[in-house]
Symmetry: C2
Subunit: 183 residues, 2 copies
DNA sequence: TCGCAGTATATCTGGTAGACATGTATCTGA
DNA sequence: TCAGATACATGTCTACCAGATATACTGCGA
């Protein structure tokens, strides 16, 4: 699918903020980009080796035995900009909840209700996490040039989660009506 | 990631509506589930073979030479219900546009503006497609037991696309302000 | 000091997308 | 009528990627 691996872009971008170990990289991506991006160890470590061979990052010994910290090189920064300029790869949609709901008469209205209720809970949790992220970002004094962009991505999550919530409420009402009408 | 392949579920569900060839299956998934699901030929054909060996579908000669039409069996319908009852697999998020926007100061406000503008266009197109799908579904006389569920999934797409649109407009304004402020 | 939680690295399996290769049937316009 | 375009149809191959699993070290509290 991708012309070039998306993992490389995410890894280089994260390392452009500060040098990190592979483990810390994954934590950072989960914490800061978790709402719209994810990376697994199975991708991160091979990517780091690849990027090191290409000269885009360099490794130096970490604080613990057997741990290396990776730092972006000058050519790595150039490569990062190049990758950023490429058109974003659109990952095909796969929403298991909507797939099941579409064939809802196979499952029954009651089970569908449960599915949508879980989806609603998820949106609520996301909204809480985003509120926390917004607070943290607005309180942070450092990195003022990055802040406006980070707030835009947080806002994207908020719009999306609020839409999910509104849809779930509307849909739960419809499903209740279906259940009341004897399924 | 998945306990059991998601493709099997989608294929069985689609065949529960009407028998189809692999090619038609892909068309149907694209047309009716395209807003929240996708399948490639590379998944569909192996899945059909697998499901046939397991006795969940049966093949009979299609209208053209070398084409087979697949039909759900009784045990296939049981398996479909079982798969439907499993908890939906949550695919990890990967939004390349937001990844780039988060590191927007690497790319510059102008390039970010373009990225968001494209995203806005996409949402507009989706909204138009969903309006068409809603019209078609509401006009269709057949399948009254499926219709309410189908309308719920269409509504999910509409909520999501409208949220994307609102966010894009808000964000384009912010980016314009950044550009005006000398990036 | 024992065990547990957290840090850290690495590999393996299998699901999946998309490109590609191949061929057939049907339609359209010259 | 026939050539080429278009739609139908099947299948394979490569590479991306997630998640599970294995391994080991470290620091802390009981």
């Amino acid at each position: 699918m991708p012309r070039t691996t998306q993992t490389d872009l995410a890894v280089l971008a994260a390392l452009s903020v500060t040098p990190m170990t592979g483990y810390a990289l994954r934590e950072a991506i989960l914490d800061h980009l978790g709402a719209f991006w994810s990376e697994s160890f199975g991708q991160i470590y091979p990517a780091l080796s690849r990027l090191r061979e290409a000269g885009y990052v360099e490794a130096f010994d970490g604080e613990r035995t057997g741990s290396s910290t990776y730092r972006l090189t000058a050519s790595g920064r150039t490569q990062l900009v190049d990758l950023m300029r490429e058109a974003p790869v659109r990952t095909p949609p796969r929403n298991g909840m909507l797939l099941r709901l579409f064939f809802g008469d196979v499952l029954g209205a009651r089970a569908c209700r449960e599915l949508v209720a879980e989806y609603r809970d998820l949106a609520t949790r996301q909204l809480a996490e985003l509120a926390e992220a917004r607070r943290a970002t607005e309180a942070d004094d450092a990195g003022t040039s990055q802040r406006p962009y980070q707030l835009m991505t947080i806002s994207a999550g908020e719009h999306s989660a609020r839409a999910a919530l509104a849809w779930a409420d509307e849909t739960l009402a419809s499903l209740d009506a279906l259940v009341a009408a004897g399924r």
